[in-house]
Amino acid sequence: MVDLSVDIAGMRLKNPVMPASGTFSEDLAELFDIECLGAHVTKTITRGRRDGNPTPRVCEVDGSMLNSIGIPSKGVADFLKKTVPFYRAYDTPLVASISGNTTEEFATLCREVTVEGVDAIEVNVSCPNIEEDGKAFAIRPSSTYAVMRELRKATHLPLWAKLTPNTGETSEVARAAEEGGADALVVANTLLAMAIDVRTRRPKLGNLMGGLSGPSLKPIALRMAYQCAKATRIPVIGCGGIATSDDVLEFLIAGATAVQVGTATFINPTAMVTIIADLERRLEVERIASVRDLIGTVADGEQKAAVVFMEAAP
């Protein structure tokens, strides 16, 4: 028997595989017993109601997808009334993903979702900070630190900061999140991208731009997960293009403690079930007692010293 369990900032997960925010909901319980997952992560909510972006909200690009959903939300009241009770039927920890456009709104929501039944809060700091120039909090270390510090005051629950790949300062942002009080980092959200229908000359997304997710994102998210694991002492949860147990191993070896599976679930709704089973089998075959023995075991030898330099000169 191999041990798949991992520890994220004091929270024990029975295995390191959980869904990514926005790619999972109660609906998936119609396909399989979602109790098998390491955690349940809900779609990001905002305090008030929001409709989200114009359609089309999704388009396909070479082997991956773009989305511009735009965080439609029924608001915090609906979340507390319907979503939290649904997941209380499960032993699996519940992670609530939240977002806000100002620090105050963000912190208030953080306080509001600090309720029984919620085990950790994932803060989607990849959303725009309208108090500055509209760029996402997590694009800059300074705004990351500022918002995390306020969120930290708002809850006693573990805080997971979800970072964005739309930055040139991944390590610095990771450190700022840690210093601001994050208990873990989720690495990463989607990458800003675009596609145009050359026949109609119209953007393929109603919102003009959207976020790239799926296999194309994997090597970028893996690089970020590695950087974050090196830059901080808090656990990193890898996310981006993960679709197989090999992908999970790659992230664990790079330094991630757990992973989130997003787009792969759209292609194979039972992807996470398969991944967990394959992971267990792989560890048995390779006689690895615990999945924790893999974390951060990348043979980066002499190379790791030069990471910053490398960042700039591929």
Partner: protein
Amino acid sequence: MMGTLTSLSTVRAKARPPSVFERDLSVVFNEPVNGEYVRLALAAPSHLLERCRAGQFFHLLCPASGEDKPYLRRPMSIYGFFPKQGELHFLYKVTGAGTRALSKLCTGDSLNVLGPLGVGFRIEDDWRNLVLVARGVGLATLAPLALEARNRGRHLTAICSARSHDVLMSLDYFAEMGAEIITVTDADGTSEMGNVEKIIKRLVAGRGVDAFYTCGSNRMLTLLQALGQRYHIPGETALEQQMACGLGMCHCCVRPFRKAGALVQLRVCREGPVFDLQEAMPW
């Protein structure tokens, strides 16, 4: 975490058997119907077929084929479901990478399907005389309604519209299901809205109409909405939208609907693809 505390008060979804299936099904045939459309039959287990309803759809994992490497699944209405023969049918138009790849499937090949998904057509107990108005690929979605109508002993009139007679599909299918068929074409000049309106008014005046069904044409939708309001006849329409998950998780597939004076965004894959005729918005 709080499991023991709350499991008494909430019915756990996990206790229920799966109501949606993800399965590799084997191709029985995959044959062109005319220059544009292909009919695909898959061998399916009866417990899956028994869950199917007219208006529902499956999300198909089209395999890579040559240059075409479709990534997302493709939504496709159920064209026919036959528990006795153990067959699930689709009728699709070859438009892009996914359907092109689909059209390359041969008998015996396997295709991964996810479904049945979404909410199908309603047929209320007191809806005796049904009228469907279909054009183009909308036929694929409306055809199984004829099957259900026959099974439930309702009278169905199918008004089938197309560019010309040779691309009019499914007439045999409707005939077999005992539907009354009215064909209109652009070639004849019979498909224009004024004429279709006349035909429907004649039906209303004649045996009467209890419900309208449509799919695939904006102008038909607008016409039926007007006639429905005028004669107080309820109805339903099936709608399309780009999809990712097909299961209700991603909120990609929303469309706006008129509900109680306000516009609300509903998911085509979950609250639809069949919606109330009057609540739907022309696009």
